[in-house]
């Protein structure tokens, strides 16, 4: 009998009740809590979910023929559907409840977007078809580009970057190309301490040296410290605004002016654009480049880790250096794909080149444009307002039980930041996060930003209802109180998830990255393989 049971908690699967009843089932499943072996353990060589001809002709001579088919068991369609459906039920998802990951903008993914992206005219079109046969597809790229430029007040946009970090790379390569074009060498990019990890990683990836700049007591960039560091070796700054503490940088224009004055450029990480879309245009704040995560602000689904899409809006100074290919509409109404061949004709001979094989994440463009057209200019403004309202509601509803480091300086933007200060000895942010899982919620972003101890960053987004937020707030409040009171049952949370806490140290010390077993008899996974104790 576990300590949790003694404290009156519901027994976990495979546990015993306080009365000694055994909760272990014969199948290993518990009602709707379903275990699922690996596909390799239930599949078979003779099984296939696709009916195919078996042509008898000989292959052409001289091929290095495979000695044996790849060693991968197959499944029939009913088995496949069941395998993945059962697995899906072990996931939390925005469709199930709030997913308040700060900086990740987990908002509802409208299903019209999915429907539209699957129209054969978008889904079943090859990237290298003659351009006359894809005018509608090029039209989507062009129309979305127009919106992104208008919403940000910028001059141009590079549509090909495949995710936020790829967009950061695009922006920094534009900066590097612009500096090279001036015949200068500037090797340093400044990055605030609170930045996303991708910022310093991207700067290094693009061949820059990264230097950190400190934050002030109000959680913003220290303008004086920044100015003191500026000089002829500075290529630019990468800044997140609203920043990762969920705060707007009120000195943004002054920061931009200072960086421009020494010949540098300003890159803005647009991960948090959702807070300000339709409320302020980054172009009016002196930004030179900013990526826009279509999978955040513009609702394309995160899909368990991608695909994303990271178009980069560019100032007039950087637009000439943007990557190929891109679209351009001429006076005759024809939309052209500008590639290596016609770059000069479209006055883009200084572009830094191609950064992925084709034209960008078309499947995300159709979804994002559908979303943007649904909201319109007025609806997008409401998006930002409701996102900020929801975050401030969370902040003010919890600041009496959770320490909120910057709450005194005023309202937050789209996310509320708390620390672990005041928890009982030995209790951490991790305990509260895992406790939220038992409460039926996905945890917030934890231990980020690094500038706040035991950070908890809550981004509700605008698609949460007030009653949904009230339930979340009540749960988080109760967990904060338990962490302060030293409720030890939190240490073993989660109790009611498909798995208890997983041993991440073991996974890293002895990496098992692929299945090494042999296919077993169909439908009979070996018990040792599915988690015998």
């Amino acid at each position: 009998m576990s300590a949790a049971n003694a404290a009156g908690w519901r027994p976990t699967m495979g546990d015993t009740t306080p009365q000694g009843e055994n909760f272990t089932t014969k199948s290993g499943d518990y009602g709707l809590m379903l275990e699922e072996p690996l596909s390799f353990e239930i599949g078979g060589r003779e099984k296939c979910g696709v009916d195919l001809d078996d042509p008898q002709g000989a292959p052409v001579a001289g091929l290095p023929l495979r000695k044996a088919a790849p060693d991968l068991p197959g499944l029939t369609e009913p088995e496949t559907v069941r395998h993945y459906t059962r697995l899906s039920r072990q996931n939390y998802a925005i469709d199930l409840g709030p997913f308040p990951l700060g900086s990740c903008t987990m908002k509802h993914n409208p299903r019209l977007n999915e429907k539209v992206s699957r129209l054969p005219g978008f889904a079943d079109v090859h990237p290298l078809q003659p351009q006359s046969s894809v005018q509608g597809a090029l039209g989507v790229i062009n129309e979305l580009a127009h919106w992104l430029i208008a919403l940000t007040g910028m001059h141009g946009v590079a549509m090909t970057p495949k995710a936020g970090a790829h967009g950061e790379l695009c922006g920094l390569l534009c900066i590097k190309a612009a500096i090279e074009a001036r015949g200068e060498q500037r090797g340093v990019i400044l990055v605030p301490e609170s930045a996303h990890g991708t910022n310093p990683a991207t700067a290094a990836f693009a061949g820059f040296k990264v230097e950190s700049i400190p934050a002030n007591a109000a959680g913003r960039v220290d303008l004086e410290a920044l100015k003191a560091r500026l000089g002829p070796d500075i290529a630019g700054i990468m800044i997140t605004n609203p920043n990762t503490c969920g705060l707007f940088e009120p000195d943004m224009k002054a920061i931009s002016d200072a960086v421009h004055a020494i010949g540098g450029y300003v890159y803005c990480d647009g991960a948090n654009f959702n807070a300000i879309v339709g409320k302020v245009r980054p172009g009016d704040l002196g930004i030179d480049a900013m990526h826009i995560n279509l999978h955040k602000t513009f609702s394309t689904p995160h899909g368990g880790g991608g695909p994303g899409s990271g178009p980069v809006v560019l100032s007039e100074a950087l637009s000439p250096y943007g990557p190929l290919p891109f679209t351009a509409k001429t006076a005759d109404g024809v939309i052209h794909l500008v590639e290596e061949e016609n770059a000069q004709a479209f006055d883009h001979s200084q572009g830094f080149g191609r950064m992925s094989a084709f034209h960008g994440q078309m499947g995300m463009f159709t979804r994002a444009l559908t979303y943007i057209l649904s909201h319109g200019a007025d609806g997008l403004q409401q998006v930002a307002e409701d996102a900020v309202l929801n975050a401030n509601y969370v902040l003010r509803s919890l600041e009496d039980v959770l320490q909120a480091p910057f709450a005194e300086s005023g309202p937050c933007m789209h996310e509320a930041l708390f620390s672990d200060r005041g928890f009982a000895d030995g209790f951490s942010t991790q305990d509260v996060a895992k406790g939220l899982i038992d409460e039926g919620f996905h945890p917030m972003t934890v231990y980020f930003p690094l500038v706040v101890h035991g950070a908890m960053l809550v981004e509700p987004t605008e698609t949460e209802s007030k009653s949904g937020l009230d339930r979340f707030i009540a749960s988080l409040r109760s967990l904060a109180e338990r962490a302060k009171a030293g409720d030890r049952s939190l240490h073993s949370a989660p109790h009611f998830a498909p798995r208890r806490r997983l041993d991440e140290t073991l996974a890293a010390r002895k990496p098992i990255l692929v299945w090494k077993g042999e296919p077993g008899p169909a439908g009979l996974p070996s018990p040792s393989e599915i988690g015998d104790r």
Partner: protein
């Protein structure tokens, strides 16, 4: 608005609790001169589902979709039949609307899928291990070159002339900024792949040799010979596979000595989608694991000893390692990896081998018929499902006229290598299982008509 649950009463009540009089009070940190007072002028206002669907459907109808015409394009993106269950399953909200599995206790579905995906990719490519995906084949190719540089501590990459020119462009773009030396070449219009030229270019400073298999002209290079030559000079062989279905028929690159194998996984489960999102495959030898880019899923146990999966070895990654990370990649191609994995599960190894045979047989039928068109010859002796035809004239115009006649008749080498005169008459054509005898006959007839 249909996506915004807050009512006017809710907003008023929430402002009351916050202690603000209006929502504008919450934007006080935005300088007043930069704050927009109303919707941006000149942009449309909100629209209902019907209106938006109508607009998007009109745009979609301006495209000639592959399924509505005889279709023979490849060159790094391939049209295969995707079983209906694949798209159904990836639209389950638990997969579609989940985030990166940072909380493993409630993300075992995604994590187990990634573990299965990594296993499938490794077995398909013939590598010890594989990661949880990259953006696409071209970016995976550049990341592999960087990884080879870290392993060998050398920075000169030799690219085969058979490497997709867009992949080569991506590599050259990036190398310009990192200072790596790239030794690239154009393909020779000959039946033999460019193996000899590549082998001759390897020297003691070479970190890696990058060879596409099958190559951009559809030919099958001799990877084993190149691997031996690379090894003799202390360089790694990076094999690039843009058509993974080929690996149902021809030997896996890892089994022929490739040290790193990258690929474009779009062929299985993902679809054409006008070029993206696609799926970067990345496999390598186990001893290189700590130099790998991208996310890795690993097996472990939970507090009760049950098998479970987590993201692991994240000390290579940007969110832990920041500027010292092996790559800046964060979001990758999770949902595309799921689609690939479901399609692969439906096929199994034997099914993939059969699918590959069907593709090869369709290509043989296509070659036999098109080579009979007056003035047309086939360059290849070896191929999988794609070959290079030599036409008596510039192929770019031929492709355009064919499209006007309702035939999507391949990719001209002029589109891929603009301005390279020696290649202008080349036409890349592909036949997958989706191509019928009738399609081939229509193509041959129209091609003959255009050339006449």
């Amino acid at each position: 608005m249909r996506y915004l649950p807050l009512t006017a009463d809710d907003r008023a009540a929430m402002l009351g609790i916050i202690g603000a009089t209006s929502v504008d009070d919450l934007f006080v940190d935005v300088p007043a001169e930069a704050r927009l007072s109303g919707p941006i002028v000149g942009l449309p206002l909100h629209a209902n589902e019907l209106a938006v669907e109508r607009h998007m459907t009109r745009l979609a109808s301006q495209n000639l979709s592959a399924g509505s015409a005889p279709f023979f394009l490849g060159a790094g993106a391939y049209r295969h039949h995707i079983p209906a269950s694949v798209d159904h399953l990836i639209q389950r909200g638990e997969f579609l609307t989940a985030y990166t599995p940072y909380q493993p206790e409630i993300a075992q579905g995604t994590l187990q899928v990634l573990f299965e995906f990594q296993t499938q990719v490794a077995r398909l490519l013939g590598t010890d291990i594989a990661n949880a995906s990259m953006y696409d084949g071209s970016t995976a190719c550049w990341e592999a070159i960087l990884m080879a540089g870290r392993i060998t501590r050398k920075s000169r990459a030799v690219l085969s002339g058979g490497l997709h020119p867009h992949y080569a462009q991506v590599v050259k773009t990036m190398a310009r900024f990192t200072g790596d030396t790239i030794d690239a070449r154009l393909p020779e219009l000959s039946a033999e792949a460019d193996d000899a030229a590549v082998i001759a270019a390897i020297d003691a400073d070479t970190s890696c040799v990058v060879v596409q298999y099958p190559d951009i002209l559809g030919r099958i290079p001799d990877l084993a010979a190149i691997a031996a030559a690379a090894q003799a000079k202390g360089a790694l062989l990076i094999a690039v596979v843009t058509e993974p279905v080929a690996l149902g028929l021809i030997e896996a690159p890892g089994n022929l000595g490739a040290d790193i194998v990258v690929g474009e996984g779009q062929s299985l489960g993902v679809g054409l989608q006008f070029g993206g999102p696609y799926l970067g495959l990345f496999g390598c030898r186990e001893k290189f694991v700590r130099q790998m880019p991208g996310r890795l899923c690993g097996q472990t146990v939970d507090a009760e000893g049950k098998r479970g999966f987590v993201l692991t070895l994240s000390t290579r990654e940007q969110h832990i390692r920041r500027e010292k990370a092996t790559s800046n990649i964060c979001t990758n191609s999770g949902l595309c990896a799921l689609a690939f994995s479901i399609h692969m599960t439906l096929l199994g190894g034997e099914g993939l081998a059969r699918l590959a045979k069907v593709n090869h047989a369709r290509a043989q039928a296509m070659v036999a018929r098109l080579a009979k068109v007056p003035g047309v010859s086939c360059l290849n002796t070896t191929y999988f499902n794609e070959v290079t035809l030599l036409l008596p004239q510039d192929a770019r115009e031929v492709v355009r006229v064919l499209a006007d006649r309702g035939v999507l008749g391949g990719v001209s080498l002029g589109r891929l290598y603009p301005g390279v005169e020696g290649l202008a008459n080349g036409l890349l054509v592909t036949a997958t299982e989706t191509v019928t005898d009738e399609d081939i006959e229509t193509f041959a007839t129209e091609l003959a008509g255009v050339l006449a």
